[in-house]
Amino acid sequence: MVTAAVAAASIARPIPDDPAALRAWQVAATVTDPEVPVLTIEDLGVLRSVEVGDDGAVRVQLTPTYSGCPALDAMRDDVVLALTHAGYADVEVSLVLAPAWTTDWMSDAGKAKLRRYGIQAPTGKAAVRGSGPVRLQLAVKCPRCDSLNTRELARFGSTSCKALYECRDCLEPFDYFKVL
């Protein structure tokens, strides 16, 4: 179990061992999602790899949350800027699609920050293909009053990654980060 947990964590946040790469990773990891500014790209699991060559060139890989997410372009630019400010002259950011991003990679700290921000974090794990056509939808908790008496108003919300919910107890609407 311990081994499995370590392996899962290394997929979500493949932090490099090499000290030079680790320093660059720590700089890149400060970049936040422009649409959900409480989350860093490290919390999200969007930062996939950081390498530093012998010549000091930095190669960064990011993965998109959703395929068309416009925030990715901003995050890419912000990674270049953050590393440039930190003194890295040669920075290249590329896109990687495999393994496909999943909300399962979101860190617990990230989920807690998300809730404090007023967005409920993904509830449950992403479905695996072949497990049948029925999606098991767990009750989504209101991030304000913790009530489970909520309902989905719209599956598609203000950004690709969110759905719109309403709490039937405190009567407030809230965003829910959908399981993907």
Partner: protein
């Protein structure tokens, strides 16, 4: 300047830093994966399907029956645009063309989308019928393609499948709601299913290109998806109490969109999509 002073948003200026316009590397194979001519043609087909549909769905924004649907169809369009970008980027590696070049600078006979994607939005029921058929097809296609022997196609498919799952669910729920709603919504849903059905067959048509690619495990034979597609469609239409249309098929005579022969609807769609890029070549913002 210390690390604490970094404010990426405050410092963005075009002059100080040239940013790359397009991401390098569309998938698992990473930077430098180059498609062969056959694979590029296949990726172009899938990419054109996604891009044409994204453009169609974008037209619903501010026109859908309710605000939530503006947002839903807009988000679905955005996902499809993302799939199209990855697929066209990969298709372009063969000829050295960028995804924008392929999107804006090809004329009608060079487009490879199937006809169902270019059929007009019609009323909301027609858009939902088209969504229901294509999302059901795409979910099965991307599911199988995610084990392609081509790592880039496999990566794009695995990513896209998860999103198309939500699209399929959205369309299915609307088919049931419209069919079980008022007499008017039911009448419209039945008409829309009947009008869209003739365009379904083309999606499952095998030709030499896919047969060649499928024998290497690169592509998915469209015909191999038909049984699963029919099973889901039968199930949903039975629940909606809509009779499954029979027989008619629209494309056989001309060979359809995969050969660049299109219905009258693609031209105006491309004109609107491409006009800005063509009036201001090389413009960026």
């Amino acid at each position: 300047m210390s690390d604490a002073d970094i404010d990426p948003h405050g410092e963005v200026t075009v002059d100080r830093l040239a940013l790359a316009d397009e991401f390098a590397g569309a998938g698992a194979a990473g930077e430098g994966a180059v498609a062969s001519a056959d694979v590029a043609e296949y990726a172009l087909r899938l990419g054109d399907d996604a891009l044409v549909l994204a453009q169609q769905l974008g037209m619903w924004i501010a026109r859908a029956p309710e605000l939530e649907e503006d947002v839903a169809l807009g988000n679905i369009a955005l996902d499809l645009l993302g799939h199209a970008r990855s697929l066209l980027h990969y298709a372009g590696t063969e000829s050295g063309r960028s995804e924008d070049d392929l999107a804006y600078w090809r004329d009608e006979p060079d487009w490879r989308n199937a006809w169902i994607f270019e059929q007009p939005n019609g009323d909301f029921a027609h858009t939902i019928a088209r969504q229901f058929f294509v999302a059901t097809y795409l979910f099965e296609l991307y599911g199988d393609l995610s084990s392609s022997t081509d790592p880039t196609l496999a990566a794009i498919a695995a990513k896209s499948m998860k999103e198309v799952d939500y699209h399929r669910d959205h369309a299915t729920q609307w088919v049931l709601r419209l069919a079980g709603g008022t007499d008017e919504s039911r009448r419209r849903m039945i008409t829309a299913v009947a009008d869209t059905w003739p365009y379904v067959d083309e999606l499952f048509h095998d030709d030499e290109l896919v047969e060649r690619l499928a024998s290497d495990g690169v592509a998915v034979l469209p015909s191999s998806l038909r049984e699963r597609f029919d099973e889901i469609v039968d199930q949903v239409l039975a629940e909606a109490e809509i009779e499954l249309p029979t027989g008619r098929t629209a494309f056989i005579a001309s060979g359809g969109g995969r050969r660049g022969r299109h219905t009258e609807h693609l031209g105006p769609l491309l004109a609107e999509m491409q006009v800005l890029a063509r009036q201001h070549p090389g413009a960026s913002w």
